[in-house]
């Protein structure tokens, strides 16, 4: 197991290094931030001074080298717009995004698994057909359109829920989040659902397919022949087998939730990293863009590793494979 984790860590380091190269050079191809940052009335001398101050007068490989040296010490450059370290700017907004992604993940689990299980166990019922049709809709509708629709229905027409912002936050056990206040919860409901819709549909389909397959397995029939209650057969014997693919996919999708929050955060004016990325792209705030993308890459790598470890906890057969490998 240790050798496996070490190997994975080295692979991850390579992925991050290559990614930093692509991102850094890619960002330098799109537009020149100097003209966006500087007073339009400035003369040539002032412009050149600004370029030098930002370190943009150096050749790009030197800039990259400089960036890499800084990055290894945890310095990803200063934001052109905020004048603060890019990392700090992003980390400040991270809790808002993470709580949104977390809320969406919870929705995907708490709605997706029971609904998918029901549809898998009683495939011929009208309710099951409705669930499956709904999941197709959830899959197909674009996130931004659903977001706008949610705002129109629940915020504008019905007036039940707020449409923008994070609401009140509270600090519990050192964690500051809007999940801990009623006002915060009412704020997070719409954006979280918007973000979760795709994942709910995905979990429904995964769970249903798993249940349809597992229900005909001999071990389910054997469990029933042992005289176990229906609850134990479904809740332990069936569910534990289905959970293997669901956990794998959900884990990987958590990274997707954070990344996808760019759209949702923009629509609901959620003060998270996603919205920061959009405004940084608009103002060509290179250090923030690069830092954001690197953080996302690191997160994906970490999640992949975590899922692999979790997978082996759920599926004992994987554990043996690792030992013999």
């Amino acid at each position: 197991m240790t050798a496996f984790i070490l190997r994975r860590l080295m692979q991850s380091a390579a992925v991050v290094a290559i990614m930093s190269l692509i991102v850094f050079f890619g960002v330098h191809v799109v537009g020149d931030p100097v003209y966006l940052l500087i007073n339009p009335m400035a003369d040539q001398k002032e412009i050149e001074e600004a370029i030098r101050a930002l370190g943009l007068d150096r050749p790009i490989w030197e800039q990259y080298w400089h960036f890499l040296a800084g990055a290894l010490e945890g310095d990803l450059g200063r934001s052109f717009v905020f004048g603060e370290p890019a990392l700090k700017v992003i980390v400040q907004r991270m809790p808002a995004t993470l709580e949104l992604a977390f809320a969406a993940l919870m929705m995907a689990i708490l709605l997706g698994i029971p609904l998918g299980l029901y549809a898998g166990l009683y495939p011929d019922r009208l309710a099951s057909r409705t669930i499956m049709a709904g999941s197709i809709v959830g899959f197909s509708l674009p996130t931004f359109w659903v977001g706008i629709l949610l705002i129109m229905v629940f915020a504008v027409m019905l007036g039940w829920l707020p449409s923008t912002g994070r609401g009140e936050t509270a600090t519990v056990l050192g964690l500051t989040s809007s999940l801990f206040t009623l006002d915060g919860l009412s704020h997070i409901l719409l954006p979280a659902f918007n973000l979760a819709l795709l994942k709910i549909s995905l979990v429904i389909r995964l769970t249903r397919a798993g249940a349809r397959e597992a229900i005909h397995q001999d071990y389910i029939k054997f469990a029933r022949a042992k005289g176990l209650s229906g609850r134990r057969v479904i809740g332990v014997h069936l569910l534990k087998n289905i959970m293997i693919p669901v956990v794998t996919v959900l884990g990987l999708e958590f990274g997707g939730l954070v990344a996808f929050s760019v759209v949702t955060e923009t629509i609901f004016a959620w003060p998270g990293m996603g919205r920061l990325l959009i405004s940084s792209i608009q103002s060509l705030d290179r250090p923030v863009i690069v830092a954001y993308l690197l953080i996302i890459v690191l997160m994906f790598v970490a999640i992949n590793l975590l899922v692999d470890v979790l997978y082996s906890v759920l599926d004992p057969r994987v554990r043996l494979g690792e030992k013999s490998a």
Binding site: K221, A225, L228, R317
Partner: protein
Amino acid sequence: MSRQAANTLEIEGLKTHFFTKAGIVKAVDGISFHVAAGEVLGLVGESGCGKSITGFSILGLVDPPGRIVSGAIRFQGRDIAGLPDEDLRRLRGDRIAMIFQDPMMTLNPVLRVDTQMVEAIRAHARVDQATALGRAREALAAVGIPSPERRLRAYPHELSGGMRQRIAIAIAFINRPDLVIADEPTTALDVTIQAQILHLAQELCRNSGTAMIWITHDLAVVSALADRIAVMYAGRIVEQGPVEDIVDRPLHPYTRGLLGSVPSHNARGRRLAQIPGMTPSLINLPGGCAFRTRCARAGPACLSDPPLTEPAAGRQLRCFDPVMAEAAA
């Protein structure tokens, strides 16, 4: 009445049909048999003749679109066909247990052996975890598993096929059931392991007075084990009787065909006799004897249903033209 009391299980006119889009599949179509305490009944037939469905019908585990259409399943004198599911659940695994064909598939791959054994005990008795674990350990030792303590903590994939089938048998016998239904439990195993499992099952039944239905397609296996044999074809029992009678003096052409296809020492070098054709589809089976299309002795009479006759004491037969050669001699 006295005979009824001695029989653990009596099945009378059981019909289990599957209502599919293509038509009604009469998987089990009016079968009757009985098993006494401590007795082993061999239920023999080809794949798809309805023998497994018979087993599942007794346990009340027939899944839709199938259901028991008619007939009585009297277990210890009580008709359990159509009992509410909770009552059936209490019987399942406690009074009536089942062993499945493929040990690779019957144990849940993600649960440890101890979990799967303890839950079988605690589903039927109010005992604490430690007591149940103790009983599980004893049950593993009773089926000849070395170092049961270690096996209890293993996952199924860490054990061999023979070992897994022993565990499945230990689970089946763990609550000392009155009836065990064994659905081809040796088919998926090596020949040497087969013999061990056969011996084990026989011993367990004899020691505890458990009645057993041994479902198989292998006459050689069942003739070494069973007290009586029932031969099934296309959802019906075509011949039934004590094992020596059936093996030595088969009356139904189908039984004879099955016996002819078993390899033996004195037939070395000769081609094995085989039954021509294949099992008919059970969808919308035409009337009359279902075996007539494959039967060398079939005549015009076979177009109507052969009645159940009793050619000798304790024997039953469904055939117009039985193979009477030995009987006449």
